[in-house]
């Protein structure tokens, strides 16, 4: 009797701990090889054959194709710099410059990676179409209401994520966060 009870306890603990840990690591993403700059995180190694098993499982689950390292690097932001989740009803400012790259694109998705419907059919910017200041820096306003300048509409959805992809860039697996990677700042300006 004691043996059976013991086994039940052991297996219950194993199932909860094992499956819980798997679910949690896939939902949160892992820190292996992550390149963090401010609000942005990239996993350059996921674009190589040396991808870690956690990232591999994540890719298989979501069905996305990672950006190959000979192609570019993708930076993801789920929160602003104060670790506050992006809220589609707030105004968020993205300001600054990007690391060296021939092109970059910034795209807004819902947390599942779908584009977000909006009145002007705009889902992002490329480095070519953005309006810049005289010093080459730029400012993008992400929010539900139309704004002057570079306005990226959120469609008012509850949560969204931003992806900044650098194409043909020296940023790669060996890059450390620092002077080489000047990512734009991300700040929430105003919330209703």
């Amino acid at each position: 009797m004691r043996l059976i009870l013991g086994l039940v306890v052991a297996f219950a603990v194993a199932a909860v701990v094992g499956l819980g840990a798997t679910w949690w690591t896939l939902a949160e993403g892992t820190a292996f090889g992550a390149l963090r700059v401010g609000a942005w995180t990239a996993w350059p190694r996921t674009g190589t054959i040396g991808i870690d098993p956690y990232a591999r499982a994540g890719i298989a689950r979501t069905g996305q194709l990672p950006v190959g390292i000979g192609d570019g690097v993708a930076f993801l932001a789920r929160t602003d710099e104060k670790r506050r989740l992006f809220d589609g009803r707030c105004d968020v400012d993205i300001r600054g410059i990007t690391p060296a790259a021939r092109f970059w694109t910034l795209t807004l998705y819902d947390p599942e990676g779908r584009l977000v419907p909006n009145s002007v059919n705009r889902h992002g910017f490329t480095s070519e179409e953005i309006l810049r200041n005289t010093d080459g820096s730029f400012e993008i306003r992400v929010g539900p209401r139309a704004r002057a300048g570079n306005w990226l509409p959120t469609g008012g959805i509850e949560h969204y994520v931003l992806m900044l992809r650098l194409y043909d860039t020296p940023v790669g697996v060996t890059t450390r966060s620092g002077r080489e990677t000047p990512m734009p700042s991300v700040t929430t300006e105003h919330c209703p």
Binding site: T22, R56, G68, G70, D71, R102, T107, Y167
Partner: protein, 189 residues
């Protein structure tokens, strides 16, 4: 009392094993991974343009809407594959993925250095079986080794602004991916 603590402790250890094995096993069971999703629309060894992602419809999550994209789902069982594509006026890239969606190689227009990206895709065995002399004379021919027999080639052309999208799509139409006749076996050098 101590005896009773051993059970949950054993469970904790077993939980660790469960965790690692599910993480490693998950990619093999996924039915909604990129390759499986593309299987439905992409026939083997030919280039198929992907519909542009929209809020209502997107074949894969996190597609970059600034790009025209086409795929070639390949199978090297019948021999190596010849791939060629004219680069567009803007940024163009070709990425290679295994059957399990691992990116093992990618090249862009500037790295290719020419107006045409041209390469031969083969498995390691096929590469080894190639007559040596051919390997040398083809010094300017790019050979890519695929770690798996099947996989994906993803072609992307950037439309730097929405108006340039038709041009980017046009560039992808020049792409070819075809099996070539296997090299004549046993040819003497």
């Amino acid at each position: 009392m101590m005896r009773w603590l051993l059970w949950p402790l054993g469970g904790l250890l077993l939980g660790g094993i469960v965790h690692f094995s599910t993480v490693l096993w998950l990619p093999r069971t996924a039915t909604q991974d990129a390759y499986s999703r593309l299987e439905k629309i992409a026939p083997l060894n030919s280039v198929v343009p992907l519909p542009a992602p929209s809020p209502e419809n997107s074949l894969l999550p996190f597609m970059d809407p600034a790009f025209a994209v086409a795929v070639c789902r390949y199978d090297l069982a019948d021999g190596p594959l010849k791939f060629s594509m004219n680069v567009s006026q803007s940024y163009t890239s070709v990425s290679f993925y295994t059957r399990r969606d691992l990116a093992y190689y990618a090249i862009n227009d500037r790295a290719a250095g020419r107006r045409v990206i041209q390469l031969d895709l083969m498995t390691q065995q096929q590469h080894l079986a190639m007559p040596q002399e051919e390997d040398v004379t083809a010094a300017d021919r790019l050979i890519v080794e695929s770690p798996s027999v099947t996989g994906l080639i993803v072609l992307k052309a950037l439309a730097a602004e929405p108006g340039l999208m038709p041009k980017a799509q046009e560039a992808l139409k020049t792409a070819r991916c075809q099996t070539q006749a296997p090299p004549a076996a046993g040819r003497k050098s």
